[in-house]
C-alpha cells in the first residue's frame, strides 16, 4: 500500500488501530495532531522515555504533523492534505473541532476519490447521536458489562479496549472495501462507524438468542447468571477444561486426576452440564477443584490432553509473552523507540504477502516530528511556530 496516503485525525485508540493496519502494510499514514498532541500521548503511567504505552502500541510506522485548529493557515493546510489523500480517518467528539467546521465544505467535495471514515461514540442517527462517549460508555450501553462479575455487584470493565479496537478493525474493513470499490467507480465516499454500534454488531449472538427463543436454556441464555469464569484452580495456576469428544474422554480424565468416583456420582450423570459451558458449572466446580488444586498445572494439562480433551493454562500478559507458541506464529515484533533502544509490540495479526517490500518498523513519532516536511511536500508552508 505504499502509494496510499492515510490521514489520521483520530485521537485515542479506534482511529489509530485503523491507521496502524494501513501503516503495517506500507501505506503512508500521517497523524494530524492538535498542538497538545493526541490525547493518548498523555495516557499513563506507564510511560517509556516520556511516551505513553498506549501511544507507543498504536502509532509505529506513522508520521506526525501538528495543525492548530485556530490557526488561520489551518483550512488551507487541511485542504491541501485532503486533496492528496486516499483515506481520512476522523474521530468526532463534542470537544474536538471537526474538519467540516474548519473546511466548511465536505472533505469528499474537495477530493471525490477520498474515503472518509467518520467515527463517533453512538453513530450518526438515533436519539443518542452526537453524545460524547468512550470505551467505557460503549461497554456500559452495549450490555457488555453484564458478561463479567455478578448482576448484583458493581459493574466491571473489560480490561481490553473492545469497542475502540473493534471499531478500528471495522474501520480498516470499510476503508479497504471502499478503496477496492473505488478501483472500479473512481469515487470515494463517507463511511460512518461508532463505538457502540461496533459492540452491538459483535453482540449479535446474544441479541438473537434472547429475541424469542423456543426455550430459555442453552449456551448464552443463562450466561448472565453463570458465576464469573475464573478457570479451574491448580496447585500453581488456573486452567480451562473441555471434553468435546465425549464421555469416555471425560471419564479418562477423571481417572487420571484422582476423580475416579465422579463417573458414578449421580450429581455428575449429566456430565456435559458440569464442565466447559454447561449450566451446572458453578455447582460442580468445587468438586473438580478439590482434586485439581493438589496437582501442578502441567500435570492437569497433560491429563486432559492425554485423555483426548482440551486444556490450556490461564496466562497473564507476562506469561503469554514468553510462550513458545507465540513465537512460532510471529505474534510479536520489535520496534525502535523514538529515543534509543527497541521495544516489543504486537505484530500485524495476519500474514499476507504484499507486492511491495514490508516497510521498516519505525518508532511512533514524536509530536509534530514531520510537520514541516509534510506541509512543504503538500504545498502549504509550515507555520513558523510549529
Amino acid at each position: 500500500m505504499k502509494d496510499i496516503v492515510v490521514l489520521e485525525a483520530a485521537e485515542g485508540i479506534a482511529g489509530p488501530v485503523c491507521g496502524l493496519q494501513f501503516a503495517d502494510l506500507g501505506a503512508r499514514v500521517i497523524k494530524i495532531e492538535p498542538p497538545e498532541g493526541d490525547r493518548s500521548r498523555g495516557w499513563g503511567p506507564p510511560f517509556l522515555d516520556g511516551d505513553s504505552a498506549p501511544f507507543i502500541a498504536l502509532n509505529r510506522n506513522k508520521e506526525s504533523a501538528v495543525i492548530d485548529w485556530s490557526d488561520e493557515l489551518a483550512p488551507r493546510r487541511l485542504r491541501a492534505l485532503v486533496a492528496a489523500a486516499d483515506v481520512l480517518v476522523e474521530h468526532e467528539r463534542p470537544l474536538v473541532k471537526s474538519w467540516r467546521e474548519i473546511l466548511v465544505e465536505e472533505p469528499t467535495a474537495i477530493n471525490e476519490r477520498l474515503v472518509h471514515l467518520r467515527i463517533s461514540a453512538n453513530g450518526p442517527e438515533g436519539p443518542l447521536a452526537g453524545q460524547a462517549g468512550s470505551e467505557l460508555t460503549a461497554q456500559a450501553m452495549s450490555g457488555y458489562w453484564r458478561l463479567l462479575g455478578r448482576p448484583q455487584d458493581p459493574p466491571l470493565r473489560h480490561g481490553a479496549e473492545l469497542a475502540e479496537i473493534g471499531t478500528g478493525l471495522f474501520g480498516y474493513q470499510a476503508a479497504l472495501a471502499a478503496l477496492i470499490s473505488r478501483e472500479k467507480s473512481g469515487k470515494g465516499q463517507v463511511v460512518h462507524l461508532s463505538l457502540l454500534g461496533s459492540l452491538m454488531t459483535y453482540a449479535t449472538i446474544l441479541t438473537a438468542s434472547m429475541n424469542q427463543p423456543d426455550d430459555w436454556v442453552g449456551f448464552h441464555l443463562l450466561n448472565i447468571l453463570w458465576p464469573p469464569d475464573t478457570g479451574y484452580r491448580t496447585a500453581d495456576g488456573k486452567v480451562t477444561l473441555e471434553f468435546r469428544r465425549g464421555r469416555q474422554v471425560w471419564v479418562e480424565f477423571c481417572n487420571r486426576v484422582g476423580l475416579d468416583a465422579l463417573p458414578d456420582d449421580p450429581r455428575f450423570k449429566d456430565w456435559r452440564a458440569t464442565i466447559y459451558t454447561g449450566d451446572l458449572v458453578g455447582e460442580a466446580k468445587p468438586v473438580y477443584e478439590e482434586a485439581l488444586s493438589a496437582l501442578p498445572t502441567l500435570e492437569v494439562l497433560a491429563a486432559a490432553m492425554e485423555a483426548g480433551g482440551t486444556s490450556v493454562p490461564h496466562a497473564t500478559m507476562a506469561t503469554i509473552s514468553a510462550h513458545p507458541q507465540v513465537e512460532s506464529v510471529g505474534a510479536f515484533t520489535s520496534v525502535p523507540l523514538a529515543t534509543t533502544g527497541r521495544v516489543r509490540q504486537v505484530a500485524s495479526p495476519f500474514r499476507v504477502a504484499m507486492p511491495e517490500e514490508a516497510p521498516p518498523h519505525r518508532a511512533s513519532p514524536p509530536l509534530g516530528a514531520q510537520t514541516e516536511a509534510v506541509f512543504a511536500e503538500f504545498g502549504a508552508n509550515p507555520h513558523p511556530s510549529s
Binding site: W43, A132, G143, F170, N211, S328
Partner: protein, 408 residues
C-alpha cells in the same frame, strides 16, 4: 441485492462454527456474493442452543447475507462441484485443523491450480506451525491462553474470563476479513492471488495490544481494576444517589476542564494533584474518594444529562431488555430485524459500517442447502442435495469423532 462496495466479488465459505463463517458474513454484508458450503450433516453450530422455531439462532447470526449450499466433499461428484465453485471464487475461507483441507482435496494448492487469482484464507486456533498447531481451540481457551482473564475483575481478585464465548471468535473473524481484503487489494496491483492466514492466538493478542504494551514497557503485568483502567482517571463507574451506576470517562484535558465545571468542582481543576491525566492517575485514590461523594449526591440520569451537556462521556448501564426496544438502537441500525422461515422474525446485530456511496444491507441467512440446486445450475454442475430435504440429524450423545475435523 446489495449495492455494497464488494459487489461483484464471490466468496466460497467452507468454514464452520463462527471464526470463518462470521468473516464470510461480513464480506457478504459488504456486498460480496457469499456461498456457504455445508456438509450433509450440517455446520456443527446447528447444535448450539437456543433455537427459534426449531433452528439455531447462532447459525443464523453467523450466516446472514449468504446463499446456502450442501455438498458432500467425500463424494466425487459433489467434490467436483465444490471445485467448480472454487475455480470461479475470488475468495475461499476455511477454518479446519491443519491437514484437513488437504484430505478433502480443497486445499490452497488444489484451488490455486484451477484459479491462480484466488485469495485463500486459512484460519486456525494456535497457528499452522509450532508445538500447539494441532490443538483445537474455542473462544474460552483463546481467552484464557492469551491472558484476557488476567485483565478483568475486582482489584486484587484472581481475574475472570468474559462469559460471552464468542468475542474472541468474532475478533478472529474480523482479522480474517482484514486478511482477505488485504489479499484482494494486493491482487488489484499484481493480478495474483495468494494464501493469507491468521489464528485465534494472533487475534486475541491483537485485541490486547494496548495492555500488552504496558507489560512490554514496564515489565509488570497489568491486573484487574474493577470498572477502572490503568492509564486514565477518572474513567470508571460511580454509584449515584439513586443506587444506580453511571459510567464516566475523562480521557483528555479539555474533558477534564469540562468535567470539573459540570460537576460543580472547580477547585479540582486548580488542584496540582489532578493537573494532568498522569497526575490524576497517580492520585487516583484521592480523586475517586472526592468524586464518589459528589456522585452520591444526585441520581444517575441527572449525571448523564449534566455531563453529556458539557461534552463529557457519561452513560447509564443498559441490559438487553433496555436495548431491545430503545429507539436509538433501532433508528441507529444497531439492532435489525430480518424475516426468514422457519425462524420468523430474527433480531440481529446491525451493520458496523454505514457507507453513504455504496449502501449495504442486512439480508436473512439461508436455510441450510436452500440454494444448492440454484447455485449448481448457475455453475453448470450437478449436486446431490435437494433443497428442503435437510433436517438436523439427532446429536449422537457420545459422538466418537466429533471435534476432529470441526472447528479450528
Amino acid at each position: 441485492m446489495t449495492t455494497g462496495p464488494l459487489a461483484g466479488v464471490t466468496v466460497l465459505d467452507i468454514s464452520q462454527a463462527a471464526v470463518g463463517p462470521w468473516a464470510g458474513m461480513l464480506l457478504g454484508q459488504l456486498g460480496a456474493d457469499v456461498i456457504k458450503l455445508e456438509p450433509p450433516a450440517g455446520d456443527l453450530i446447528h447444535y448450539v442452543k437456543p433455537t427459534q422455531n426449531g433452528l439455531g439462532t447462532t447459525y443464523a447470526t453467523m450466516n446472514l447475507n449468504k446463499r446456502g449450499v450442501i455438498l458432500d466433499l467425500k463424494d466425487p461428484q459433489d467434490r467436483a462441484a465444490a471445485l467448480a465453485l472454487a475455480k470461479k471464487a475470488d475468495v475461499v475461507i476455511e477454518n479446519f485443523r491443519p491437514g484437513v483441507v488437504e484430505r478433502l482435496g480443497i486445499d490452497y494448492a488444489a484451488v490455486r491450480a484451477l484459479n491462480p487469482r484466488v485469495v485463500y484464507c486459512s484460519v486456525t486456533g494456535f497457528g499452522r506451525t509450532g508445538p500447539m498447531k494441532d490443538m483445537g481451540c474455542t473462544d474460552q481457551h483463546a481467552q484464557a491462553f492469551c491472558g484476557y482473564g488476567a485483565l478483568n475483575g475486582e482489584p486484587e481478585g484472581t481475574g475472570e474470563l468474559m462469559r460471552y464465548y464468542a468475542h474472541h471468535d468474532l475478533t478472529t473473524a474480523m482479522i480474517v476479513t482484514q486478511a482477505v481484503l488485504s489479499g484482494l487489494w494486493a491482487r488489484e496491483r499484481t493480478g495474483e492471488g495468494q494464501q493469507v492466514e491468521t489464528s485465534m492466538l494472533q487475534a486475541g493478542l491483537a485485541l490486547q495490544r494496548v495492555r500488552l504494551m504496558e507489560y512490554f514497557t514496564t515489565g509488570i503485568a497489568p491486573t484487574p481494576q474493577g470498572s477502572a483502567i490503568s492509564y486514565c482517571a477518572p474513567d470508571q463507574a460511580f454509584l449515584c444517589g439513586d443506587a444506580r451506576h453511571v459510567a464516566v470517562s475523562v480521557t483528555s484535558e479539555p474533558e477534564w476542564r469540562a468535567f470539573c465545571a459540570a460537576a460543580g468542582l472547580p477547585e479540582l481543576e486548580a488542584d496540582p494533584r489532578f493537573a494532568r491525566n498522569a497526575d490524576r492517575v497517580r492520585h487516583r485514590g484521592a480523586l475517586v474518594a472526592i468524586l464518589a461523594e459528589r456522585f452520591a449526591a444526585a441520581p444517575a440520569p441527572w449525571w448523564v444529562k449534566k455531563l453529556n451537556a458539557a461534552g463529557v462521556p457519561a452513560s447509564l448501564y443498559f441490559d438487553y431488555e433496555q436495548q431491545r426496544h430503545h429507539a436509538h438502537f433501532h433508528e441507529g441500525g444497531m439492532i435489525v430485524e430480518v424475516e426468514k422461515e422457519p425462524w420468523g422474525t430474527l433480531a440481529v446485530g446491525g451493520l458496523p459500517w454505514r457507507f453513504d456511496g455504496t449502501p449495504c444491507a442486512v439480508e436473512p441467512p439461508p436455510f441450510p442447502g436452500e440454494h444448492t440446486q440454484q447455485v449448481a445450475a448457475e455453475y453448470g454442475v450437478s449436486a446431490k442435495h435437494q433443497p428442503g430435504s435437510w433436517r438436523l440429524p439427532p446429536r449422537d450423545p457420545e459422538p466418537a469423532a466429533a471435534g476432529k475435523e470441526k472447528k479450528a
